[in-house]
């Protein structure tokens, strides 16, 4: 990537349908801004997020992936986010273990009432990814380029 070209990270936000997608809608309704490079994919519940989807996103060029779901205890399906929480913890830990920047992945609980939190989270996450620069390591892991 040429240094002079402005880096526009690609960020995929998986949002559960009941809380976080509604929270994202609310931040829109309240006209709270966050960067356009955040694109939301609606899933029924945070527990629907297969780790493979995250890897796929990185494979296809995402620079950051964030999962937003209902707050623990408030899952529309009662327990989904608890499973998601464990799964994501272990996945993030493993990516960290492989030397992938741990800031590239994140989980945030956003309720349907937290439009402001959604926007703030996305601004913050986007800034973090911007600081990290493009995601290279996952791609570089195998091929020695030096």
């Amino acid at each position: 990537m040429p240094v002079n070209e402005e880096f526009k990270p690609t960020i995929v936000a998986f949002c559960c349908n009941w809380c976080s997608y509604a929270g994202a809608d609310l931040s829109g309704t309240n006209r709270l801004q966050y960067p356009a490079n955040v694109k939301i994919i609606r899933i029924p519940c945070s527990c629907r997020l297969n780790p493979m989807f995250i890897l796929r996103a990185f494979q296809r060029g995402a620079d950051g992936v964030i999962l937003c779901g209902c707050h623990p205890g408030d899952c529309h399906y009662t327990t989904g986010n608890y499973y998601a929480r464990r799964r994501m913890t272990l996945l993030f830990s493993m990516l960290d273990f492989l030397g992938i920047e741990r800031e590239r992945t994140r989980v945030e609980w956003v309720s349907a009432a937290e439009g402001a939190k959604f926007a703030a989270t996305m601004n913050e996450f986007s800034a973090t990814i911007h600081k990290l620069g493009p995601n290279r390591r996952l791609e570089d892991l195998r091929c020695r380029k030096d």
Binding site: D25, G28, A36, P44, R48, N50, A62
Partner: protein, 662 residues
């Protein structure tokens, strides 16, 4: 390959002002499989919908992508539109280019570019959509109402009236709620008990209504039409079926020093009690915290005097399982605690009271028999100061951010009643704003000022100093630009109201969402005000937000109407986006079963053909689509990827990922 039609909505200027809708339609037209792409001012309008339908017929569309507002707004609208044109409703995908694009971006190029990507993702997904047909599930024709205040009672009566069985679960020993403690109601000044107690009796006598008093909901499973609820009947140490409500025990009990919570601790009752004369059910309850028999095993007076033999010291909490088609939440409100606002000296002087305490002091059944007397010395007060907005309308760090809505009116009522009954009293009301929207409300307030001579002062009280039997009130009069110093006999605080503490754990059980103040959120603030976003959960009364009695009753009946509409159906259309296992790949490992919150997954041993005419018996998962709610937990728990979710399949989500990251 699907034949996809793309419809880009302007939403007037809501989208079109920041997204170049024409360009979006143009670019998306070039996506693979797109045979038609257009834009229009209001896709959700009659004309817009007709345009979609025409295009489906004309271009033989097999998939439709609508770039518009959030799917939470109009996904159903557009699904129905397409269904009428012969397209399976699940062949429709929405790209959310309003809430998640035009409304959050200012730069038109950026927003347009993003809208195109969101459109692409939807197109990529719709290519992998499959027509889905919803199944049905039966509806249990019984409703549960949680909370037996005026809201719960009204809802239950209306539902029962329509011919359905209703259970009311009330945590107190009697139904009636806060309204039982209120003396008179605004703006008519009729007696609260006179209009409430007949309704309580109606509820008790209605053969379709069953009241679980002194009970709580302890667990909720299931889903709309098929809730399975466990109700905990707390031990009241009195056999309800035997107790006649004669009240002898409540007179003979030697433990006399129990704060009477019905009168907010302004007087005492016995350890065995009936909250008030018109209680429903009129059954005694033993307060285990104070009963000497329960605490030390010595006494037993109530048991001796009870001719019905109703006292049962061995009684234990009982658990009842019941099935319901719908659940109504009517958990109501409470005034907040005032220890954070001691500039008003609430904890320092008994003559500083809350408005609800003032109701009891005015009430004929209250601690003073209806004569207004100061709690400190039993003297008749001559100067009374009312303070509005105590803990309401605050910065988050200082109290509740919302207006409690009912205080302006009940304070006008209190002030008016004081002046009417005791013309020798001086009454001051310190207000920030007087808020009286409602039928005959402002007229009522004006009467308090004009006819009854209540001193309304625009300003606030800063400090109350109890001294020599007086309450020295220091306040501002903003219109008169002066600081007032009033020697008052009583100060009445209009405490903010907040949702009952039982609401939060209940919301978790019901998976019904709440706002940051613990009020239940409605499915739509304007169009679906009595439904929770969780299907089958309805909201009645102040659990949804501060409300006065007429509004509560109106909402209670509205919730009942919604419940009746639901219970009238024999079957509910299920969500067709359910999990579905690929039997060929299923390992039968039980991982999916373990994470399913609905018990929708079972296993069967199934015979499969192997190579060379052999057969193989394998254990494979089965999903009951009527029970599956489509969360997708199983799909990720499945190690082999045999489990997939219709409507949100692995391939569909990955196609969206690919389109976004492209």
């Amino acid at each position: 390959m699907q034949r996809v039609g793309v419809f880009v909505c302007w939403c007037g200027s809501n989208i079109a002002a920041t997204v170049d809708v024409e360009k979006v339609a143009e670019v998306l037209a070039k996506e693979p499989g797109v045979v038609f792409s257009t834009n229009y001012q209001y896709m959700c309008s009659q004309a817009g919908q007709e345009m979609i339908q025409e295009s489906i017929r004309k271009y033989n569309l097999t998939g439709v992508v609508i770039c518009s507002c959030s799917p939470r707004m109009h996904e159903n609208t557009f699904r129905k539109t397409c269904e009428k044109a012969g397209l399976n409703p699940y062949m429709v995908e929405i790209a959310n280019i309003r809430e998640q694009c035009s409304w959050i971006h200012k730069d038109k190029d950026t927003a347009t570019e993003k809208a195109i990507i969101l459109g692409r993702a939807a197109i990529a997904k719709v290519h992998l959509n499959a027509p889905l047909t919803a199944g049905t599930s039966p509806v249990k024709k019984r409703a549960l109402v949680i909370g037996g205040g005026i809201a719960g009672i009204q809802t239950a009566l209306d539902i029962a009236d329509a011919g359905f069985d209703v259970d009311i679960v009330e945590k107190e020993p009697t139904i009636g709620g806060k309204m039982t403690q209120i003396d008179k109601t605004f703006p008519t000044l009729d007696c609260a008990a006179c209009i409430l107690t007949p309704k309580m009796v109606d509820a008790a006598q209605n053969e379709r209504i069953h009241i679980y008093s002194y009970s709580e909901v302890s667990s909720v499973r299931g889903f709309v039409g098929n809730f399975k609820v466990t109700i905990k009947k707390k031990a009241r140490f009195v056999d309800e079926t035997k107790c006649t409500g004669c009240g002898l025990c409540t007179e003979k009990c030697p433990q006399k020093k129990v704060p009477n919570l019905f009168n907010l601790g302004l007087d005492n009752r016995r350890a065995i009690y009936i909250p008030f004369a018109q209680a429903v059910p009129k059954v005694a309850t033993i307060d285990a915290d104070y009963c000497t028999m329960l605490k030390s095993g010595k006494c037993g007076v109530c048991s001796k005097v009870c001719t019905a033999g109703a006292i049962d010291y061995q009684q234990k909490d009982a658990f009842i399982e019941q099935e319901y088609g719908a659940i109504v939440v009517a958990t109501g409100f409470n005034p907040i605690k005032l220890d954070k606002y001691d500039e008003f000296a609430y904890s320092q002087s008994p003559d500083v009271v809350t408005s609800l305490e003032f109701e009891r002091l005015m009430n004929a059944a209250g601690p003073t028999g209806g004569t207004l007397l100061r709690p400190s010395d039993g003297q008749h007060p001559h100067t009374i100061v009312f303070v509005q907005c105590v803990g309401s309308r605050c910065d988050d760090s200082k109290g509740k951010p919302y207006c409690s809505k009912i205080c302006c009116m009940y304070t006008a009522k209190h002030a008016m009643l004081c002046r009417e009954k005791y013309p020798d009293t001086d009454v001051y009301v310190f207000y920030i704003d007087v808020r009286t929207p409602g039928k005959n409300f402002d007229e009522f307030y004006r009467r308090a000022v004009e006819e009854y001579g209540v001193h309304y002062v625009k300003g606030m009280v800063g400090k109350v100093v109890p001294e020599n039997g007086k309450l020295k009130v220091q306040a501002s009069d903003l219109i008169g630009n002066q600081q007032l110093h009033i020697d008052a006999d009583m100060v009445v605080l209009a405490a903010a109201i907040e949702p009952d503490k039982s609401a939060r754990p209940l919301a978790t059980m019901l998976t019904a969402s709440m706002d940051t103040n613990d009020f239940f959120t409605e499915a739509h603030p304007k169009l679906r005000p009595v439904e929770s976003p969780t299907a089958g959960i309805f909201l009645s009364g102040a659990c949804q937000g501060p409300k006065d009695i007429p509004e509560t009753v109106a909402q209670a009946s509205a919730a009942a109407a919604k419940v009746i509409g639901l219970l009238n159906k024999d079957h509910l259309i299920c969500n067709p986006c359910t999990a579905t296992p690929d039997e060929m790949m299923c390992n039968g490992c039980s991982s999916c079963e373990k994470v399913c919150p609905y018990g929708a997954i079972t296993y069967i041993d199934k015979e499969f053909r192997g190579p060379n005419r052999t057969t193989l018996i394998r254990r494979v998962a089965q999903v009951n689509p009527a029970v599956c709610q489509g969360c997708g937990a199983c799909t990720v728990a499945c190690p082999s990827g045999a489990m997939d979710l219709k409507g949100f399949s692995n391939k569909q989500i990955m196609a969206e990922v690919d389109a976004i990251c492209r």
